[in-house]
Assembly symmetry: C2
Homo-oligomer: 148 residues x 2
């Protein structure tokens, strides 16, 4: 079962030009062509593109994804390279998770801040708030700002 670039793009919810770009960057070396030169994508190409999208969303640059792909095609001699790259990326994901956790707490605090302000009609309501009136989960946050 083959798909044209347009069909594959629709399946993956990306622009056809993106897939051509990936191809040009050496990220799709296994995609076959028709006798007329038209790309013929297979289901397993979609699997790789899904993995690619996953790595990309985790902040991995296309160059590194390209390295990984190249190593994969070189065989067992590169297993440790690949493992190393994956470990590195795993570490990066863990750090990003920590970062997002911090950001979420901060956004939740700000959200509470502005919800309270919206109800009162003014941000000034926060001037007359005792620490006890700040929800507990945010106190560490605001306390830290007092210090800074």
């Amino acid at each position: 079962m083959f798909y044209t670039i347009g069909e594959m793009a629709r399946k993956l919810n990306v622009a056809p030009s993106t897939l051509r770009y990936y191809d040009k960057e050496g990220l799709l070396p296994f995609v076959e062509r028709s006798s007329g030169g038209i790309r013929m994508f297979k289901d397993e190409d979609m699997e790789w593109l899904r993995l690619l999208g996953c790595l990309k969303k985790a902040g991995m640059p296309l160059k590194e994804i390209r390295s990984f792909l190249d190593w994969s095609r070189q065989g067992d001699a590169t297993i440790s390279h690949r493992l190393e790259l994956l470990e590195k990326q795993r570490q990066s994901v863990l750090e990003q998770q920590k970062q997002l956790e911090d950001t979420l707490l901060m956004l939740d605090y700000k959200r509470w801040y502005y919800q309270t302000a919206q109800e009162a009609g003014t941000c000034a309501v926060h001037d007359s708030l005792t620490p006890e009136q700040v929800p507990e989960q945010f106190r560490a946050l605001t306390a830290e700002w007092e210090k800074g």
Copy 2:
């Protein structure tokens, strides 16, 4: 207590040119200048820059951070705008967390895959593996790939 741009950059672990860029983009409208035109950063400027960094790491573009800042300076009439922007960003963070969760599982699977391959000296070891030999947390993942 004032800091020069170089001092502040060191504190925040960014390049001085980055802070100049932020200034040019209207993200530091409150930073004072000496009589000679040199920027004088205060501790509260650092707080804002930390918040900015947090939002940035959460994927918020500088333009939106600028909007938020402008609204903050416009007073209580913009509270709902600000709240809306924060809600939107919060949603984005939640989606990113979900995405990172998926990616982490995938990376952990790949890590296991290559660790096993490294011990065996070849990726071929995975050809002769029964589903029971795949750690349980990865089975849903590999099963999904069988389908696709």
